[in-house]
């Protein structure tokens, strides 16, 4: 008899599990070697605790009532539960604090397109070490993790989460209009972005062109100069911060795989400062991401800077298989 399981979930059988386990162990080894201790948290939490971290995950969360009428939710990532854990268990601990995890998270997405509703993430959280050093350390760990996973060709996109918020404020675009434009930028809808910006009162053609051009700047260090040429305080601030991060990365010798990307915008609500995204040429989907969330812990009562990343393990596994099937050929 066939007994169904909910869409977006799946069973793992021994052949796959053996490979996944190897990947898991390789990653946890990398994390532990660098001083990141592994933690586990419950898959279910109180909804109001998770919402404190990121109200915007509201539309993708699974919620239900328990026997005593409390509203519970399945975690949609590990960053918010770990912020809760730090506030509760490590409030007076000596900083910086290094934690890592390998855990399932849940999002009520439409399955069947490379997105599962239950998925495994491996990642780290570095608390108490500000930019640029904290960011550089996280990128260094991420690179080591990608190497350990066999993804030597993976690329890390590095952007700035505050760039467009500040730029739009500079243009005098606020409130709903700004959120709508940020949405266009996050979706990379350049046609809609240009049309919507042009319609706004007081935004000049030149400013529209700056915003569109900025979102297309990605590549090596030269991108920072190209961005600066577009001018403005928001750009100056973001490029200065990116430049500092890049210097810190170069000092650690881990800047080679980093691609500066001024079009990067992650849709999670808690990011500030540097943001990261991971790609591999063997896969059309993003492998993971992260960045800084210096304001997140404050929402839980601990005012500490923080940064981290998470890799989607199923996607890493697919990418690894693709890389292996290339047979180490050089092209």
């Amino acid at each position: 008899m066939i007994h169904p399981i909910p869409p977006g979930t799946r069973d793992v059988l021994p052949d796959e599990m053996r490979e996944l386990r190897r990947l898991h162990l390789a990653l946890i080894d990398v994390f532990e070697e660098r001083g990141y201790g592994e933690v586990a948290t419950p898959a279910i939490e109180y909804d109001e605790v998770l919402a404190r971290g990121d109200g915007r995950t509201a539309d993708t969360a699974y919620r239900f009532f328990d026997g005593s009428g409390d509203l519970l939710a399945l975690r949609s990532d590990m960053t918010v539960p770990i912020a809760r854990l730090i506030a509760t268990r490590y409030a007076r601990a000596e900083m910086p604090l290094r934690l890592c995890y390998l855990a399932n998270a849940y999002r009520a997405v439409r399955p069947q397109r490379g997105q599962m509703r239950e998925f495994a993430q491996a990642g780290v959280e570095l608390i108490g070490l500000p930019a640029p050093e904290g960011t550089a350390e996280v990128v260094e760990v991420l690179e080591a993790a990608l190497d350990a996973a066999g993804l030597g060709r993976a690329v890390i996109g590095l952007g700035d989460a505050d760039l467009y918020r500040h730029l739009l404020t500079e243009f005098g675009v606020e409130g709903e209009a700004r959120d709508s434009i940020l949405g266009r930028l996050a979706a990379h809808d350049l046609v809609g972005l240009e049309a919507e910006l042009s319609e706004l009162q007081g935004v000049s053609d030149e400013q529209v062109a700056t915003c569109v051009a900025l979102s297309q700047l990605r590549g090596g260090k030269e991108v920072l100069d190209e961005a600066r040429a577009l001018g403005g305080a928001a750009v100056e601030r973001a490029t200065a911060r990116l430049g500092e991060t890049l210097e810190a990365l170069e000092a650690r010798g881990v800047a080679e795989r980093v691609q500066i990307d001024l079009g990067l915008l992650r849709d999670l609500g808690y990011y500030s400062g540097a943001i990261l995204e991971v790609y591999d040429p063997a896969l059309g989907h993003v492998l993971g991401g992260g960045g800084r969330y210096d304001g997140l812990l404050k929402r839980f009562g601990v005012d500490q800077p923080a940064a981290g990343f998470a890799l989607y393990m199923e996607r890493v596994h697919v990418a690894l298989m693709e890389e292996e099937s290339r047979g180490g050929g050089s092209s």
């Binding site: 490379g114 350049l190 990605r218 590549g219 040429p281 896969l283 199923e314 697919v318």
Partner: protein, 219 residues
């Protein structure tokens, strides 16, 4: 999970059907050889220098591009709006393939208004259920959207629906079926879209093709 790879020649998804001719003209103007596609061949894939053209239904373009099976592609804005949840980067308005998404009803017939007034709800047949739902929701009206696959003009003629939401280029099909435009919903043109990872990892090729398409259109 998409297994598609963003390497090798740049794979360009080309829409068959109404957009094909102008898409090939635009690619020609961008310096890409399309003679193979224009020929008699029934192949779906046409390898070229550094660029491979892959032909498919316009509504499949977002699917292939989202998964990275095609790195970039061309399709109508109507398709992108109907599949708004697909993550593809919309880089360029190509300007051709211009048509309007409209609400149409039978000529001189007040079924639409009457159903809304007396039943509180219109029945609308369409191949674009999500665009239709969003439009009526956005204008504060209640409708029952009926999805059909084939000639949607049929629906109001034999009583399946009070009106239709459909794409209109010249309006001839509507006219021949005794239908008329009641409301204009939006205007659609062809768009150049890119896969998220290809846009990052093949930036030069993707930007280069976008720039050449833009130049070709300006000519």
């Amino acid at each position: 999970m998409g297994r598609a790879k963003t390497e090798g020649p740049l794979k360009v998804a080309v829409p068959r059907g109404a957009l094909l001719g102008e898409t090939l003209d635009a690619l020609d103007a961008a310096g890409i050889d399309t003679s193979e596609v224009r020929g008699e061949s029934r192949s779906l894939i046409f390898p070229g220098q550094g660029i491979t053209l892959v032909t498919m239904r316009p509504s499949d373009v977002p699917t292939y591009v989202e998964a990275g099976a095609a790195d970039v592609g061309i399709t109508g804005k109507d398709v992108l709006l109907e599949q708004a949840d697909r993550v593809v980067y919309e880089l360029l308005d190509l300007g051709f393939g211009r048509c309007r998404m409209v609400l149409a009803g039978r000529k001189g017939d007040e079924r639409l208004g009457e159903s809304e007034r007396r039943l509180g709800m219109m029945r609308i047949a369409t191949k674009y259920p999500r665009i239709a739902e969003r439009y009526f929701e956005g204008t504060g009206r209640q409708v029952e959207v009926i999805e059909v696959k084939g000639s949607v003009e049929l629906a109001p003629l034999i009583g399946l629906a009070d009106g239709i939401v459909d794409l209109v280029a010249t309006g001839r099909t509507l006219d021949e079926n005794d239908l008329e435009v009641r409301e204009e919903i939006l205007e659609c043109t062809a768009r150049f879209v890119a896969n998220r990872v290809a846009h990052k990892l093949r930036a030069r090729e993707v930007d280069g093709l976008a720039a050449k398409l833009r130049q070709g259109l300006a000519r």
